[in-house]
């Protein structure tokens, strides 16, 4: 016998009520709260991470690594999870070499997360892992390493804590060097482990491009070593050497003293890392006579044998007196260059005239950027003839009233070594992707012809005379023909606004071998103490660097070539 009608209805009521509650709950979960609950579930089993491709490396022309990224540990603490901040600080201090008090202070903060040390050496990370302290953890972060230390630091520049290039090539090529950044969502299981990185190959962001430089690390080392010694010896304020390949404009070395280590720039100021080779201007003094002579020869204002009178060392121009360092009488134009006569140069400039001299100064690249692929280059100072005073023509002809950078000067003299063709200087020869495929090749660029090949050859012979028997004898390299010019310029005393009798810049610019140039080089020594002549402080540096670099490059000496030819 079945249940009575009343009991049946009661049962039905409870059943329907139960189903109704379930249905309501289903609608609530699946429809009304669907969006919110889906989002919560996603948060629990998905993990979003920003992946960043590795920053590209920088290598020299032979593939030697000059800068690269390595993942290193950064140490953090979770103060709320620590049992004893004092004990943790004691253990950490011995590993991280940070003061115990400083660590303890951080660990006693009322925070869930504190950085203790960012981007430390991998060895420190390994030791901390062994200690396994609760509440202390580490994450891996990319750190830029400059394995050669201070070598080429002024050209390479450096990156900040966030890995963005702040100076030098790191800054100039930031868009090529930095890796791709991409937000990626990974699935994770109940234990928080990443599960099945589906399509990960596609998710890995591309690494940054690598740079290959025209720099040769051995030549760079030779230049830096010799420059440091010269600056120390002369007790100078600073110094610069640029070594350039005249035919291409490729920079082989760019040394600046004092040096700095790009691995530790936190305590340094901009004055230390400024690339003086292209950011600092100086009055070149007699090295400017190379350009004046080139213009005079090209314009046939002068021939090597043209006679000039030295006025016995004193000449008045615009109510001011121009001096030579010795009393000179009659001399040829070539002798004027050998003896570096200011009066001879002033007379040559006056014969050229304002417009012609200005046109050649511009043609050789003064008063404009060389457009080298480095940041911070200045244009120098070249006033328009309208602004010239009565003495300007004479002053500029002997390297005063004009501001140049060492890079402008070495480029100009390179043009003489390159048969009169001015090249654009550059330091990056190629950009390649992470697979090593070349994505951009930088070819040498001709800027313009500045003088004829005949003029360049004539001037080369004159400049050889400067080194053979003129002011630049200390630049002579046995077994090689060297062409060059010394320069000594007084600096303006910032206190008086007049030329200082103490502060000066000594320089030498030239190329070698004169008959088939492989190197053009400038040496600038700023504010040397004691004897400040370019022929004394800079020319010997040119010789020492030139000699070592030519040997390194395997360029045969003249006598060796003769022996080989005789055989």
């Amino acid at each position: 016998m079945g249940p009575s009608g009343g009991r049946r209805y009661v049962l039905l009521f409870f059943l329907l009520s139960g189903f109704g509650v379930i249905l309501f709950r289903l609608v609530s979960l699946q429809v009304l709260q669907a969006a919110e609950l889906t989002a919560r579930a996603d948060r629990q089993h998905q993990k979003s991470v920003t992946l960043e491709g590795v920053r590209g490396a920088v290598t020299d022309r032979h593939g030697k690594v000059l800068a690269m990224n390595v993942e290193v540990p950064s140490i953090f603490g979770v103060p709320t999870s620590l049992d004893s901040p004092a004990n943790a600080a004691k253990s950490l201090s011995s590993v991280l070499h940070i003061r115990r008090d400083d660590i303890e202070k951080k660990l006693r903060q009322d925070k869930h997360f504190v950085w203790l040390a960012r981007k430390v050496e991998p060895e420190k990370g390994r030791r901390l892992e062994q200690l396994s302290i609760d509440g202390i953890g580490m994450v891996m972060e990319g750190r830029r390493f400059y394995p050669k230390g201070p070598l080429l630091a002024h050209v390479l520049g450096f990156v900040g804590m966030d890995g963005v290039g702040l100076e030098g090539l790191e800054r100039r090529y930031e868009s090529q060097l930095h890796g791709e950044k991409r937000l990626t969502i990974l699935q994770r299981d109940a234990l928080g482990r990443t599960v099945f990185p589906k399509g990960l190959r596609e998710q890995v962001p591309a690494a940054g491009h690598a740079l290959t430089l025209t720099i040769d690390e051995v030549i760079q080392y030779i230049a830096e070593k010799e420059l440091e010694e010269a600056v120390d010896h002369a007790r100078a304020k600073s110094g610069t050497i640029i070594v350039m390949e005249p035919q291409s404009g490729a920079i082989l070395a760019m040394a600046v003293s004092p040096r700095f280590d790009p691995n530790a720039v936190a305590s340094l100021t901009a004055d230390r890392w400024r690339n003086r080779a292209l950011t600092d201007t100086y009055e070149p003094g007699s090295t400017m006579k190379v350009v004046v002579a080139a213009a005079a020869l090209e314009e046939r204002v002068m021939m090597p044998g043209s006679m000039l009178f030295g006025e016995n060392g004193r000449m008045t121009v615009a109510n001011t007196t121009i001096h030579d360092h010795e009393k000179l009488g009659w001399m040829t134009f070539a002798q004027m260059m050998q003896k570096s006569s200011n009066i001879g140069a002033a007379k040559t400039g006056i014969l050229l005239g304002q417009q012609r001299l200005y046109r050649y100064l511009q043609a050789f690249g003064f008063g404009q950027r060389t457009d080298i692929d480095l940041p911070g280059e200045v244009v120098g100072l070249l006033k328009s003839p309208r602004e010239w005073g009565r003495r300007s023509l004479a002053s500029i002809s002997m390297g005063q009233e004009i501001g140049v950078t060492p890079l402008q000067m070495v480029s100009a003299v390179s043009a003489i070594a390159n048969d009169g063709v001015l090249m654009k200087p550059y330091v990056v020869s190629g950009v390649s992707d992470q697979k090593g495929q070349l994505v951009k090749e930088v070819l040498p660029q001709v800027r313009r012809r500045v003088v004829s090949p005949a003029t360049a050859r004539t001037l080369t012979t004159i400049l050889e005379g400067v080194v053979a028997s003129g002011t630049g004898t200390k630049a002579a390299i046995p077994g090689f023909r060297v062409a060059g010019k010394t320069g000594t310029a007084q600096k303006v005393d910032p206190r008086t606004g007049a030329y200082s009798s103490v502060l000066s810049v000594g320089s030498f610019v030239g190329f070698v071998p004169a008959d088939a140039p492989r190197l053009a080089m400038i040496v600038v020594i700023d504010e040397p103490q004691g004897e400040a002549w370019g022929g004394v402080v800079a020319a010997p540096v040119f010789r020492r660097v030139g000699e070592q670099v030519l040997t390194y490059l395997g360029v045969p000496r003249d006598d060796q070539v003769k022996i080989a030819m005789a055989r």
Binding site: P147, S248, Q560
Partner: protein, 111 residues
């Protein structure tokens, strides 16, 4: 016939479940290998930095002079038996550029 269908259906279910489990297992395996690869790459990079630091010309010169008692060759002590430039010149400018430059009127001369 019915029994065969039930067995086939069971097999399909088992195959599906086994495939899902295997996918997860392989996922963990891939993740493990990926971690291993990352660690090896990291070690490789660290070693590369170390090699680069150890081969720095400055360090080699210091070791040569301080530890081994060597010194740079003096003038006339270096003889190149087979004169050959070890570092070739970089690629020269495009030929057409050079040709233009060679025939270019000299600046200033024409004016």
């Amino acid at each position: 016939m019915k029994a065969v269908a039930v067995v086939a259906a069971m097999c399909l279910v088992f195959a599906f479940v086994w495939e899902r489990v295997d996918v997860v297992r392989l996922g963990y395996s891939i993740e493990r290998l990926k971690t291993q690869k990352t660690l090896l790459e990291r070690e490789r990079d660290q070693l590369q930095v170390k090699v680069s630091a150890l081969t720095a010309p400055e360090r080699i010169a210091r070791v040569a002079t301080d530890k081994l008692g060597l010194f740079p060759p003096q003038q006339g002590q270096v003889f190149i038996i087979h004169p050959q430039p070890s570092v070739p010149l970089l690629a020269t400018a495009p030929v057409e550029h050079l040709r233009i430059a060679r025939t270019m009127p000299v600046l200033g001369g024409a004016k």
